[in-house]
């Protein structure tokens, strides 16, 4: 029979042991504070649990056995407020189906991510003010009708030292990001980039010849044995490639960074940190002032555990930050009719699925790629076509894209993801691989450049609690009302031919561009994991949930960081990179709050 278990109060309660939760846990425990970390999933031991099962392509890649079961919790989705939202019931591969990359276990989402890195440029942090001042508000409103864009509360320059701090801890590999991004005059990423693939070299040469400024695509797969400032180290990447593609297996040597390989071991080493796994957090208790007094969670036996604390850090995955706050009555829920309230407001796609793609075949290029476009090292990228790095005068969209090519190929289902919307057992195993090999090796490599564009927040998109569907504990699921706008369609229409030019310059044959699109494309079923907003940070409590220190406007002892706290979608492929600096900002804010409780702005 389940019971209520009351725990003694601690200084900081960290909800979620993913990328941001790990950083906050180690920073606060190192500073001498007592910290409890709650994680709903297990603590995988990848050298044993994972190591011997990692080649289970079907089980991991398609049955998603290392993801959270959607029978426990999910989200519902609709394209406009007149539709009936349906729950996401199946995790499938990413390119044409739904994908939900919720973390499940210590390490969180970063167990599954690709390790693609890359800073946001200055424009992303100040889209609203930069666009309005340069092109006029009329341009912005025409490009993005019903736009609900706000600036980040800090600029790129403000974030630069936090970026450096996080990159040195996470082990980001690369050199710099080219002349279009400042901050690299006397600084380089801590680890060298992976050796460039033949496709990456072709992309570099072609883009240079076209007048662009290519640079090695940054990534978080340690190319060298590496020890971070916390004293946690890993062996170098063994170039196996199973970390890539839709399967995105966790790295069994720890080269692909996640909190389990970078921060949490150091937090445990302080003696001030307690890790509690299998702890499903469902409620925040508040006092009359709105401050949080305890987090409630179910343990493995179904007992309700009550964990009081001085400060709470909400580092849950994506929409679950919003779900927890809404179910707890924390924050001001967004009302889409009056466009008031902030919680659930401003969701956007971080990296919209490409609506147009340019493809070509490289013959006799060498290397061992079946295809190009998956795998996360060895590539080159350009910033010339993203942000406001080209003149938008006369164009009908904001932002751009971040073409990048030459990633290492993956070794598992990654390879046939490109060919199968609904893979069947016949499409795995040695027979299928042999057929791929016969077709693509050793002479042909398919290269795809996909200008994914920026998907900015609009007033019509939001998260609320679904009135019909609940998680297994009876709490409403988060309901997403979201679709694409013409902004990303117009962007793709403009940039796809430029991508084709790059492919042609690379020497590709059979260069093709998918047809021009003239109407918005339905979001469903191409909903995917890279979502932004919903609990965004900002300078105005009317339109944001958290301030620049990631402190909640309405509950001063609640902090948060993560994708869902970003005010703006971006046009790079690297959503995880910028949440690292955010987690350090939050950790600093929490330290300040613990010294002097109160609003930090």
């Amino acid at each position: 029979m389940s019971q209520i278990i009351n725990h003694p109060s601690v200084d900081v309660v960290v909800l979620g042991m993913g990328v941001v939760g790990g950083t906050v846990a180690v920073e606060l425990s190192k500073a001498g504070y007592k910290v409890v970390g709650l994680e709903r999933g297990p603590h995988w031991e990848f050298a044993t649990d994972f190591f011997y099962t990692k080649f289970d392509e079907w089980g991991i890649g398609f049955m998603r056995k290392f993801d959270i079961s959607l029978a426990i919790t999910s989200s519902t989705l609709r394209n406009n407020s007149s539709q009936f939202a349906l729950p996401i019931r199946r995790n499938t591969i990413g390119y044409s189906g739904q994908i939900i990359s919720e973390g499940w276990g210590v390490g969180g989402m970063a167990q599954h991510y690709g390790g693609v890195m890359g800073r946001y440029g200055p424009w992303v942090y100040q889209v609203y003010s930069d666009t309005a001042s340069k092109y006029g508000l009329g341009f912005l409103n025409a490009a993005v009708p019903h736009q609900d864009i706000i600036d980040w509360p800090m600029t790129y320059d403000d974030y630069t030292p936090y970026y450096e701090q996080w990159e040195k801890m996470w082990g980001v590999c690369g050199t710099n990001e080219g002349p279009l991004l400042s901050g690299f005059d006397n600084y380089s990423y801590p680890l060298p980039p992976a050796p460039t693939t033949p496709v990456g070299t072709a992309f570099k040469n072609a883009t240079e010849a076209l007048g662009y400024s290519p640079f090695p695509g940054p990534h978080a797969l340690a190319t060298q044995s590496f020890v971070n400032p916390y004293g946690v180290g890993v062996q170098e990447c063994i170039y196996e490639g199973w970390c890539a593609g839709p399967c995105n297996y966790t790295c069994e040597v720890g080269a692909k960074a996640n909190s389990d390989f970078r921060t949490i071991p150091a937090a445990l080493g302080t003696g001030n940190f307690e890790l509690r796994i299998n702890s499903y957090i469902f409620r925040l208790d508040t006092d009359s002032s709105g401050n949080i007094i305890a987090a409630r969670y179910y343990d493995e036996q179904g007992n309700v555990n009550v964990q009081p604390g001085t400060v709470f850090f909400n580092g849950l995955w994506g929409f679950n930050i919003v779900k927890l706050m809404m179910n707890s009555g924390v924050g001001n829920n967004y009302d889409p009719v009056s466009s008031t309230g902030s919680l659930g407001r401003g969701i956007a796609m971080g990296v919209p699925p490409p609506v147009r793609t340019a493809t070509g075949i490289l013959d006799n290029i060498g290397g061992n790629s079946y295809t190009c476009g998956s795998g996360y090292g060895g590539a080159y990228a350009i910033r010339d076509l993203c942000d406001d790095n080209f003149d938008h005068t006369g164009l009908n969209f904001i932002g751009g894209a971040y073409p990048e090519a030459g990633f290492y190929p993956g070794g598992g289902p990654n390879n046939f993801a490109f060919f199968a919307d609904q893979p069947t057992p016949a499409m795995i195993g040695s027979t299928f691989k042999a057929s791929l090999k016969n077709v693509f090796l050793p002479t042909k490599t398919l290269v795809a450049l996909a200008p994914s564009g920026v998907s900015p927040p609009v007033t019509d998109w939001y998260i609320d609690l679904d009135p019909h569907y609940t998680d297994q504990y009876g709490d409403p699921l988060p309901r997403l009302t979201i679709d694409w706008t013409m902004n990303e369609v117009n962007c793709a229409n403009y940039l796809a031919p430029k991508c084709a030019d790059i492919l042609t310059k690379m020497g590709a044959s059979n260069v093709q561009v998918s047809p021009e699109i003239t109407t918005p494309v339905s979001h469903n079923p191409a909903w995917q994991a890279h979502m932004r907003g919903g609990a965004r940070i900002g300078s105005d409590s009317a339109t944001s949930v958290f301030n620049k220190w990631q402190q909640c406007w309405t509950s001063q002892n609640l902090f948060a960081a993560g994708e869902i706290c970003k005010p703006m979608g971006d046009n790079t492929t690297a959503g995880t990179h910028p949440i690292g600096p955010m987690s350090y900002v939050a950790a600093e804010g929490i330290k300040n709050y613990l010294k002097t409780p109160g609003p930090l702005v």
Binding site: K30, H43, E45, F46, A47, F51, F55, K168, G171, S188, Y189, P190, L191, Q224, S225, F226, V227, N228, P229, Y230, G231, V232, G233, V234, Q235, I238, E240, E252, V253, G254, D260, F261, P265, A266, L268, G269, G271, L275
Partner: protein
Amino acid sequence: MEQQLSPILIIIPPQYVSALLKLHEKLEDKSKEWALSGDLGEALNGVRIKPDCVEIVTSKDGAEQIHEAVKEFRPEPIAYRVQRLTRNALVGNVEQPLYAGSHYFEFQIDGIKIKVNGDLQFKVNDWGWGDKFEFTPVWVYIVNKKTAVVPLHVKLELYQNLGWSDKVEKLNLVITNRERLFHQRVR
């Protein structure tokens, strides 16, 4: 806590990272080669062991150059030193006194003891001195600083020669685990 840490991780106390970064600052423009040895070197190779100092191996010239570069940390004078180690060698089931000879000095960075050995050699009892301790290093990035480390197989060979079976066993386990990874890679 130890049970919660994956065996694939390298764990060293963070104050050692900080000390090594400061050392790198001083040695950055020096041409002489040096490498980390001792327990720290093994820890950086994945052996779960807690170091109590930083041990550097280099040449005699290297030791002199390092001595000059770290003046700020007030190193003791450099001198050739022969020291009997606390642990004996076990040769043919007979314990024999073990000596290390090197151009030696030590200093501290933020309370972390740094020991520098130039042209390190070992001697068992009154037998002749062994070859100078030379090897091709492995490389570990201490944050963003490329750092040479004595390879595990070199230490393994040394321990085998000294008859230190417990250490041989410990290092063998780490090496075997790595080989297992490599075997999986080329399955």
